[in-house]
């Protein structure tokens, strides 16, 4: 414990005082002495000049939530870059299904108004409207999203008016997202902006409930590497009807019917909790935080879900799926454990994934010693009970909060969705944490570090001081870690593999991690002509000494 505090104090010495004061609040060491999670500062401004991994509101809105909707065309309104960088780089896979034929999928295309200097000077509204007209004439999409980038907000283009007029002109929904990159402090602002728009304008527009006894949505699952498909496979096996995986491989058609499901599952808490919460308010739909990353975590999520419906057949089928799938993958996992056991890791990914992956790593006998997020809020670390105590600031106030009321016609009590009596529902809530997320903290061990908006300097120092065996992070950090002799896996894009969720994902992940740890080159870093002088190269070469 003391050791870790000393480590951090040494790390802070390089910082100017103002930076030190700021950064200390973003870093927490878990301690047995603390009864609950100490307050961690999160969702506040990044200090200028600090090499943060954070992105912007546009990335959170367009890149994360909106673009995966496969049957809508998303136009980036702005200069060319933002649309270009978010084109095909997030691995949210999509394919045709019963509601969406191949010719209505636009996931592999990039649309941008490519604003030029005269457009900045004289306004881009007309250009945007013209582009919408051309796109409708050529592609006939079911709906269009417009996502604006930084200069749009400054020059005052009224994208809402353009969208409204285009909706009337073409008879399809055209949605405007004012997700300029400077809004808020990270991607998080964009998630919120996207959630608000979809909630207000799309959810509830449909009236076709998919047939099935237990119809569910998976919210906050983006189908990276096919994660959503693996979850659907398992959920269908258990007896559920998946109405919509949101927004990975989601269609506009299905999102319209989101309110017709019995239960919302929440996978990524940060990016989608707004919709879960707003649907609870407006329609009464209960939601359950789940985690399908990790074998035990998947099993536990499935068990909790089954309890929600109080359906013996569902519980039986769930039990069978858990037993069958766990038995199927266990022998292979055991082989990988021989390589992975005892390894220490850092995890910096996602809006719940740094938490989720701790479960999968535990399955493999590994442990996370440092974990954090780029864009989380306090509740993602500390649990949702802190939400009422979170102070809003100038940056968070810029993102509108929707104050929804229960829908007069369609609101139903949570117990009705689950076909339970009120008493049963109350009893269920004691057993299953409905409409709640406990955050990352409870799953961390004493002495572990939680770090918000970890920057390059902190990462470099923590690697040097703690010498982890493996780092799970994004592409920007990956090669930095590797240059230091530490294997690293990109966890935003899985080094282009996957799925990593569910049972098949656990095997894929274990296999990939084992390869990363044991690739023979790690043992050959020191050239032969230097080995005589330096026989003991320690960790740098022994990353795979299993």
């Amino acid at each position: 414990m003391d050791g870790m505090e000393t480590t951090l104090e040494e790390l802070y010495t390089q910082y100017p005082d103002t930076v030190k004061k700021n950064r200390k609040k973003h870093i927490v060491i878990k301690s047995a002495a603390d009864e609950s999670c100490p307050q961690i500062e999160a969702n506040t401004r990044t200090i200028p000049g600090i090499i943060s991994q954070r992105g912007c509101a546009y990335a959170g809105c367009k890149g994360v939530v909106v673009a995966p909707i496969k049957d809508m065309i998303t136009i980036t309104h702005g200069p060319v870059g933002c649309g270009y960088y978010s084109w095909g780089t997030r691995r949210n896979k999509a394919r045709a299904d019963s509601t969406t034929p191949k010719d209505k999928i636009y996931s592999q295309l990039c649309f941008t108004t490519d604003m030029q200097e005269p457009d900045i000077v004289f306004g881009g509204d007309k250009k945007l409207a013209r582009m919408i007209d051309e796109i409708v004439a050529a592609f006939h999409p079911r709906g269009i999203n417009i996502c604006s980038t930084c200069p749009i907000g400054l020059i005052g283009d009224d994208i809402g008016a353009v969208a409204k007029a285009a909706t009337e002109r073409h008879g399809i929904q055209v949605l405007a997202y004012a997700c300029e990159g400077y809004k808020g402090v990270s991607q998080s602002a964009g998630h919120h902006i996207a959630n608000n728009n979809i909630m207000q304008n799309v959810i509830g527009k449909g009236n076709e409930r998919k047939p099935g006894k237990h119809v569910i949505n998976v919210l906050g699952e983006y189908n990276i590497g096919g994660d959503g498909w693996e979850q659907e496979r398992i959920l269908k096996d258990c007896g559920y009807t998946v109405n919509c995986v949101m927004t990975g491989d989601a269609s506009y058609e299905n999102i319209k019917n989101l309110h017709l499901a019995d239960l919302n599952l929440v996978q990524c808490h940060r990016s989608i909790n707004y919709i879960a919460e707003m649907m609870e308010t407006k329609y009464g739909t209960p939601w359950l935080k789940v985690n399908f990353v990790g074998v035990e975590a998947t099993n536990e999520s499935l068990r909790q879900m089954a309890k929600c419906f109080s359906d013996p057949e569902l519980e039986k089928q769930t039990g069978e799926v858990i037993a069958r799938e766990t038995a199927r993958i266990e022998p292979a996992l055991e082989q990988f454990r021989k390589i992975c056991r005892g390894k220490k890791a850092f995890a910096f990914v996602g809006g719940s994934r740094s938490h989720h992956y701790q479960h999968l790593l535990k399955d493999l006998g590994m442990e996370v010693v440092v974990a954090g997020y780029e864009f989380a809020h306090r509740d993602d670390y500390e649990g949702r009970q802190v939400i009422p105590t979170i102070k809003s600031d100038a940056d968070s106030k810029n993102i509108p909060e929707l104050h929804l009321k229960p829908d007069e016609k369609r609101f139903r009590e949570g117990n009705e969705y689950l076909n339970l009596s009120k008493e049963q529902f109350e009893a269920l809530k004691k057993e299953v944490p409905l409409n709640y997320y406990e955050g990352m903290y409870p799953d961390m061990k004493n002495g572990d570090i939680m770090i918000d908006d970890c920057n390059h300097y902190e990462l470099e120092e923590l690697i040097k001081k703690l010498r982890p065996d493996l780092i799970f992070t994004g592409v920007r950090d990956k090669y930095i870690a590797e240059k230091m002799g530490i294997p690293a896996k990109q966890m935003h894009s899985y080094d282009y593999a996957g799925p990593y969720a569910g049972y098949n994902g656990a095997i894929n992940f274990a296999n990939d991690v084992a390869h990363t740890l044991t690739t023979p080159a790690w043992k050959m870093i020191v050239p032969p002509w230097e080995r005589i002088e330096e026989p003991d190269t320690g960790k740098q070469e022994g990353a795979s000494d299993a």
Partner: protein, 455 residues
Amino acid sequence: MLECVPEGKTEHTTGKINPAKTCQPIGALYASLGIHGCLPHSHGSQGCCAYHRMHLTRHFRDQVLAASSSFTEGASVFGGASNLKTSIKNIFKIYNPDIIAVHTTCLSETIGDDIPNIIKQSEIPEGKIVIHTNTPSYVGSHITGFSNMCKSMVAYLAEAQGETKKEQVNVIPGFVNPGDMREMRRIVTALGVKLVMFPDTSGVLDAPLTSKYQMYPEGGTTIAEIRDSGNSEVTLALGAFASNAAADLLQEKCGVTGIPLKLPIGLKATDDFIMAVKDWFGADIPKEIAIERGQVIDTLIDTHFHYQGKTVAIFGDPDHVIAMTEFVITMGMVPKYVLTGTPGKEFEVTVTKMLDEAGITGSRVKAEGDLFDLHEWIREEKVDLMIGTTYGKYIARTEDIPLVRFGFPILDRAVHPLMPVVGYRGCLRLIEQISNALLERRDRDALDEDFELVL
């Protein structure tokens, strides 16, 4: 694949669908990485910097470090001066670079932040340097941004120490890979001429893994070298779009003669590059270079029937596409579609002239185009081969055309940043890639009775 793309001619006059360019700041960031001990800095929202670092990292598979002014809404309204001053102070204290190279973004340009003035008001430690360039994302492309940062290196750093020039050549390499820059250096050094190449990302973005981490790797042009570029006799500006602006300023500011050349990709362009050095310095052509050229001729003769007469679509950055067009003409191929996303009529003029001189008719040439245009052309009349960036893979798969990956970015193949396509050795690599792509296709499509051992 791409079933949603409409058949036949569509009206596409506004915006871009599948752009063949990106924005200025990423080019400026890349150029800055070619200065030794430099931390690039993006003056705008942190999302820009995050995207640029991500994109460059994916192409190079190596660390790309840069800082950001991390604008919030307040900075966007009141201006980013205080963000930039704080950034400069923090960067020198925490990351300790020799130099910070600031580039702007569409956000700070729209606000109208006066960067030189803000730099003047900033705390800069003794011996440290801050330079800047303006890179509005709504003008030009990433190539323009690269060009602007190269020009700013000259504006801020290059100095002429009197009338007498040193017997040395400046090479402005263009937006090419570190492997290409290494090869350019090798060729000029082989000719016995001292050179200053800037920027130079070799040793930065192709740095070895030793497990001894360096935030600022050994590579990159030193500040002293860039200063000294003002004392060189001559500057070779490789690629008009990326390099001419810096060479022109060097001529104007320091009286260094600028010679505009193509990127030395292909036989003729490499000949021109080597002859420019030879003619200016009276250098002897060493035997190793002569042998390399002879090997290219030998290979072209040996392999011409693999590719001669085949039609090809070339797309990507203007300097790359111009040089590649010249080379495929040398190879006897027919450049049917030639497209860049970067604006500039001189691209169309240059390429059209090459085609005319080669007697090739019926080709389409376009600057400021996009891959939707290219796809429409290909659907009208197919080509045998595509040469360009990774983004072409969707069209290649849809239309079943082999794709040779060339230029920036290549996101789905590795090792390419280390393997030069410039110089005579680069010719061999390109011939091999083009040949193999067509032969793989021939093998794939051959009937059993036509499937042959020797080709």
